[in-house]
């Protein structure tokens, strides 16, 4: 069974051993990501059921989606995941300024994704394609909309981390929040990588 070294937990406050804190934070974030996947899992299940039921409708209506915009967004998000990963590795080597730059790039990518999505939604509404149009568009708006909320949440988290980093909170020794925040951003990216083919590339 798992044994955790706790010999250092002698103090009277609530300071936990940094090693334990680090592994707890990472473990907690992984669990949280699991619940996020389950949250989307409900939508993926609905997608599978309705796609089996209305295969033709899905095929017809997916043509209304703009593959180019979707592809651009995919590239933007994958790139932002890369910059995020580079940021984590930067702070682990103690390069605080490099982390700030990389965080700014990641955040800008997130914003670019949002702006892109804004125009995409706008075009849909102009063509009177709304969540009430059909089951396909209901799924499209629900899945991308929920994902969009996660992008916003991710941007907020990264912004907070950026501010903290500018205040000099993180270093080679202490960077758990950056690593954990990075995990969250990768999840946001990962979900999109599933959404893109499911919605835009139905064959």
């Amino acid at each position: 069974m798992e044994e955790i070294a706790m010999e250092d937990t002698h103090s009277h406050g609530h300071q936990i051993d940094p090693k334990v804190e680090y592994s707890a934070a990472k473990f907690g974030m992984w669990l949280f990501l699991g619940t996020e996947i389950l949250l989307f899992g409900g939508l993926f299940a609905a997608y599978a059921i309705f796609r089996a039921k209305y295969a033709e409708l899905f095929h017809e209506q997916h043509k209304e989606l703009d593959v180019t915009l979707g592809a651009i967004n995919t590239v933007v998000l994958i790139f932002s995941s890369l910059t995020m990963a580079m940021g984590v590795s930067a702070i682990q080597r103690g390069k605080r300024n490099l982390l700030s730059i990389l965080l700014v790039i990641t955040i800008l990518c997130g914003i670019a994704f949002g702006v892109n999505k804004y125009f995409e939604y706008g075009a849909k509404f102009e063509h009177h394609l709304t969540p009430g149009t059909s089951i396909f568009f209901a799924l499209y708006f629900m899945m991308t909309g929920l994902h969009m909320l996660h992008v916003f949440a991710g941007i907020t988290i990264l912004t907070v981390l950026l501010v903290l980093n500018l205040k000099g909170k993180f270093s080679a020794n202490y960077n758990t929040p950056i690593e954990v925040g990075g995990l969250y951003w990768h999840l946001v990216d990962l979900i999109w990588i599933y959404l893109f083919p499911l919605l835009y590339l139905i064959s």
Binding site: M1, E2, E3, I4, M6, E7, T9, H10, H12, G13, H14, I16, V20, S23, A24, A25, F27, G28, L31, F32, G34, T35, E36, L38, L39, F40, G41, G42, L43, A45, A46, I49, F50, K53, Y54, T130, P131, G132, S134, I135, A138, F141, M142, L146
Partner: protein, 537 residues
């Protein structure tokens, strides 16, 4: 760890700091536990009053005090508040918060701030529920589509409130899992954990795996009402049964979220008042996990007559029967723990024994409902209502009351009046059975549930049930007053009034803010009672 000496520290009980903000901003797991305790108890009492109103309406056929719509609102309120505001967060959040760190030898949970955040989310959810009462929903706590799409009442606010509670529940579960994995004291191996901690662990797994699914389901329901997305609306090509599948995929495991902590509670109470080790510790621990896992495979037994295929119904009936097995093991093991013990019928013990008795009825009647041919007749009748209350009150609430009486001295550092507690227990036990046993017979006779009115042939059983509910209500009232009086008038509690060997009793009552002066080193599991050399089989 011996090389570190601590300067003389003053013992400051965690309750000492006064002022509302010192509570609302506290990240102390014990204070958060007590805040949950206050919130869920309030929810329990309010929802209990609504059930008394329902029973009053049903005392005679025809309109008695409320009309059909008001009755529907009442049972919706009763169900949603009891399920989502009392029993799902209930024991896990209040007792779990208070006890888990004490039992595993930690100073707090892994993420104390997140823990406080979860409580705020609970409060936010409760506030939204209160606002929704301006135009209270009448869908029942299950929100079945398409009725929940079509009704003119405020379903959106209510489900939003529940969605937020779900987030609170997920974060609490996450916190507990990480705490149990990472913060156990030296020597506290998995097989030395209290069964309450095992139960909380199994519960937390369920909270993490099931709650997101109900979250997305309620979100889809809200979108359905706002944008008309049509997932669950047959008129738009959607599937109303999909809602039921999603809903029960969460809500059946949720039943175990509600009951498992109570199993944990009485696994603590019985050894202490029998002065015997728990019988079959490992079987008890693993059966908790088994119940948790099987609970994900049985959701569709709520839908045998919902137009699902016969094949699916058969599979789910089979899987449902499987849940009975680990549950039976638990009941037998608790009973066997009493064998050759030194049994003290403390009020907490009376509640624990009542749980075994009543839950056995609840569990066995569950076998009726799992059997396909029988379920067709009994589904959606009062039999289900009675079964559900035997499990939820007979199981969870008895466990909750038992826990309140058991850990009261530790939580508040005071003693309550034991004689009054026993009188209240007797009234609750009798009142409960008089209320709900007749409902089994109403059910087998064919009385459907959620009826504001009923044909005259069901009158006498309904009347009996209403009388029982009044006795039950009086019992709960006396118990509440007794426990509240203990806070101001009770004697000071000793550190370990029952001579328990479990870790939480080895700290002062009430515990200091930091729990342990020194993190303890654990050498055995917490049920070492009796003379070891007399081991027999």
């Amino acid at each position: 760890m011996a090389n570190h000496t601590i300067a003389e520290t003053l013992y400051v009980p965690y309750l000492d700091e006064k002022g509302i903000l010192s509570w609302l901003l506290s990240t102390d797991h014990k204070r958060i536990g007590i805040m949950y305790l206050i919130s869920i108890s309030t929810s329990f009492l309010i929802a209990g009053i609504s059930s008394l109103l329902m029973r009053l309406e049903l005392i005679a056929p025809g309109k008695t005090i409320v009309d059909a719509h008001q009755y529907n609102v009442l049972f919706t309120f009763h169900g949603t508040v009891m399920v989502f505001f009392f029993i799902v967060p209930g024991l896990a959040a209040s007792l779990g918060n208070f006890l888990i760190p004490l039992m595993i030898g930690a100073r707090d949970v892994a993420f104390p701030k997140l823990n406080l955040g979860s409580y705020w989310l609970y409060l936010l959810g409760a506030t939204i529920l209160l606002i929704s009462l301006l135009k209270p929903a009448d869908t029942g706590w299950t929100f079945y589509t398409p009725y929940s799409i079509k009704t003119g009442t405020d379903v959106i606010l209510l489900t939003t409130g529940i969605f937020i509670l779900g987030m609170s529940s997920i974060l609490t579960g996450l916190n507990f899992i990480v705490t149990i994995h990472k913060l156990r004291a030296p020597g506290m191996t998995w097989h030395r954990l209290n069964l309450f901690v095992w139960a909380s662990y199994a519960t937390a797994i369920l909270q993490l795996l099931a709650t997101p699914v109900v979250g997305i389901t309620l979100l889809l329901l809200i979108m359905e009402r706002v944008f008309g997305i049509g997932f669950f609306d047959p008129a738009k090509g959607g599937d109303p049964i999909l809602f039921q599948n999603f809903f029960w995929f969460y809500s059946h495991p949720a039943v175990y979220i509600m009951i498992l902590p109570a199993f944990g509670v009485i696994s603590e109470i019985i050894p202490v008042f029998s002065r015997k080790p728990i019988f079959g510790y490992k079987a008890m621990a693993y059966s908790l996990l088994a119940i948790a896992l099987i609970s994900f495979l049985v959701w569709a037994h709520h839908m045998f007559v919902s137009g699902m295929s016969e094949v699916a119904a058969t599979i789910f009936s089979f899987l449902t029967m499987l849940v009975a097995i680990p549950t039976a093991i638990k009941v037998f093991n608790w009973t066997a723990t009493l064998y050759k013990g030194s049994i003290q019928l403390h009020s907490a013990m009376l509640y624990a024994l009542s749980l075994i008795f009543l839950f056995t009825i609840g569990g066995l009647t569950g076998v009726f409902l799992g059997s396909l041919a029988v379920d067709v007749h009994l589904h959606d009748t009062y039999f289900v209502v009675a079964h559900m209350h035997y499990v939820m009150i007979g199981g969870t609430v008895m466990g909750f009351f038992g826990a309140l009486h058991f850990w009261y001295p530790k939580m508040f550092g005071k003693m309550f009046n034991e004689k009054v507690a026993k009188v209240a227990w007797a009234l609750i036990f009798i009142g409960f059975n008089v209320t709900f046993f007749p409902q089994f017979i109403l059910g087998t006779l064919g009385m459907p549930r959620r009826y504001a009115d009923y044909p005259p042939e069901f009158h006498s059983l309904h009347e009996l049930s209403t009388i029982g509910s009044l006795i039950l209500g009086i019992g709960v009232f006396i118990m509440t007053v007794n426990l509240l009086r203990g806070l101001t008038n009770g004697e000071k509690a000793p550190e370990n009034p029952y001579n328990s060997v479990s870790l939480e009793w080895q700290v002062p009552s009430p515990p200091p803010h930091e729990n342990f002066e020194k993190i303890p080193v654990v050498t055995d599991y917490p049920y070492v009672y009796g003379k070891k050399n007399t081991q027999e089989g």
